[in-house]
Structure formats: structure tokens, C-alpha cells
Subunit: 184 residues, 2 copies
């Protein structure tokens, strides 16, 4: 069957990994949100990009403190990711309400999520405004992983690590079969 | 078990969807590459970001013509994606060598991939240079899908659409189980 033109939408670019983003500063203000519009940008130096709506509380905190963590999560955190993605942290202690435990930072002053599979500490380097969003490009200052799920050469062992990915709305998925391109 | 700090790496941000990117212009020069550092940026207007190494032939073509297509692919294209991601198109007809068929553009002058599940036509709007990469932010001008795999409300039906995702090197995956957050 052939193609059908549809109303332009981001949905054909999903599923993609969904992360918990922690912003703010230990001992001052902190927030968490869910985001799947996050990706690596360059390796030399290692930087990532993240799209944050300019009316989000996380935007205020990143503007104030310039740092955040990207927390890679698995299927066990689906309910917490859903809550992080559907309630605002403005004027409340969202991290406590959701019931997330925090892990102290190594190189910044913003914590990670203890239940995550990886914590990536980031510091804003540059940004571009596009529509309702500020696209941050950030330096990666540290990366921590739960080593039982991860191999430094190959990355996640998807037979063990059920990396959570977002489809749309309440629908998520995890990696399926491992497919390996055979050597010629 | 707790966290272990590792050498900073993009690998914890994979698996993520891998796309075929077609650049150039019909009747002039064309190329294809594989890319997984692609994401939506904003909805109003709909824009996407893509990281392109500045020594890639695709970079030359995007600089010259300012347009490209993002082609969403499934598991059946794994070998072609691998070849698109590991050979340069400079000085050769890479699209023909790989054996990809093209689909005429609707709103630009750069074709899509006929075997893809979706073709997204894009026009560069802005860019940021980071290390070895130019991060393009591009307007989405048209989106086409194979309708038997796609629902305009929910996006891909992952029971049918084996969206190809890249882990590292020769390792890929596809979506696994559908997980739905239950209503409270």
C-alpha cells in the first residue's frame, strides 16, 4: 500500500525513550518532569539537546540554575513517569508527591533519580527558541549507570534493561527483540 | 545495586529510532544517510532537530539545498540502514548501490524512501554548531505515512509497525510489549 498525507505531527517520530528530568538545586528548589524530546548532539565534546516548554516550571529552574539531570528509566517507573509528565511542580513538592528518591550529584548541584538506570548530569551551553519551546544544548558533565544493566562497549543489555519509551498519551513500550546485522 | 560512574558516552541515550535521511535535489545530486540523533522540537510550529556531522556528504547537500526528508523505517530495512550508516555517498550513487526506491516529494524538491513507513519533508530553519556536528532545526512541511500501520490519534500501531531502533554498532531493536498506564 502507498503513502497517505496526514496533518503534520510529531507522532511518527515516536516511540522514543522517555526520561525524568530533574532541575533546580539541592537545598533550594527542585522539580521533575518527563521528556522524550531529548537526544545526543555531538561527541567532541559530548553534548545533548532537550526541548523544554517555556511555560513549564522546569524552564524557570533551568533558566535560574543552568543545570539538570537526564534520568534513564525502565518499565518499573511507568506510573511515576506518567505523573511527572501530567502534573506541574509549580507551588508543590512534586518529587515527594510522586515518591521519587534522589541521588546526590557528582559534578553539579542538581540530583538524579535513585530508581533510574542512569543519571546524566548536564550544564546548559546554548539554546535556540522554537515556537513554544526552548531547545537547550547542554554539556554532559557526568554519566552514572547501574552496571548490572550496562556494558561500556555495547550500552544497555536490552535483555535486562527495559528502557521505557513513550508512544503517545498513556501508551508506552520497551525494547523488543535484539536484531544484529550480520557481517558480510 | 548502586550507580557506577562511567566515561561520558551517548550510549545510555540509546536505543532510539533510526531514520534514513535523504538530502539533495531531484534531478541533481542526492544522498542518503542513517541517523538516530533526530527528534521533535516544537509543535507550534512543528519543527524537528537533526545532528549532522560537518564532514558528511549529507552536510554539503543540506547546506546547498536546505531540505531533507526523514524516513521512518522498520526492521525489514535493517541491512539498508546499516549500509546507509557505514558508507559515504561522496562520489558515488549510494541510493542506487543500496537499492532504495524513491518517492516524489510533495512540498520540497527532495524525495523520500518508498520502502519507509513514513516520509517527513523538512526545510532548514536554523542551526547551532556543536563540536563536530551542525544541529539543524527544520520546519516540517509534509508528513506521509503508510496508513495500515498508523492511527492519527495514537501514532504507530506497534503490534504491526516494527519501528527500527539503534542500540550501538550492529545492534538494533524494535518496540516490544505495549504498556498502558491505567486510569486511576
Amino acid at each position: 500500500m502507498g503513502f497517505k498525507e496526514i496533518e503534520p505531527s510529531y507522532k511518527p517520530l515516536h516511540p522514543r525513550p522517555v526520561y525524568l528530568i530533574v532541575s533546580g538545586r539541592m537545598g533550594e528548589r527542585l522539580n521533575v518532569m518527563a521528556a522524550s524530546w531529548v537526544m545526543p548532539v555531538s561527541e567532541e565534546p559530548l553534548r545533548i539537546a532537550i526541548a523544554v516548554e517555556r511555560d513549564a516550571y522546569t524552564f524557570d529552574l533551568i533558566e535560574e540554575y543552568g543545570e539538570f539531570t537526564v534520568n534513564v528509566v525502565d518499565h518499573r517507573l511507568i506510573e511515576k513517569v506518567w505523573r511527572a509528565g501530567t502534573m506541574s511542580g509549580r507551588g508543590r513538592d512534586k518529587i515527594r508527591e510522586i515518591g521519587l528518591e534522589l541521588e546526590d550529584p557528582l559534578k553539579t548541584r542538581v540530583p538524579g533519580v535513585r530508581e533510574a538506570l542512569a543519571i546524566i548530569e548536564c550544564k546548559v551551553w546554548s539554546h535556540v527558541d522554537s515556537g513554544e519551546v526552548r531547545l537547550y544544548v547542554a554539556d554532559v558533565l557526568s554519566v552514572r549507570v547501574k552496571p548490572e544493566y550496562y556494558n561500556e562497549r555495547y550500552g544497555w543489555d536490552i535483555r535486562k534493561a527495559n528502557i521505557l519509551m513513550h508512544l503517545t498519551g498513556r501508551a508506552f513500550t520497551v525494547p523488543g527483540k535484539l536484531l544484529v546485522v550480520r557481517r558480510q
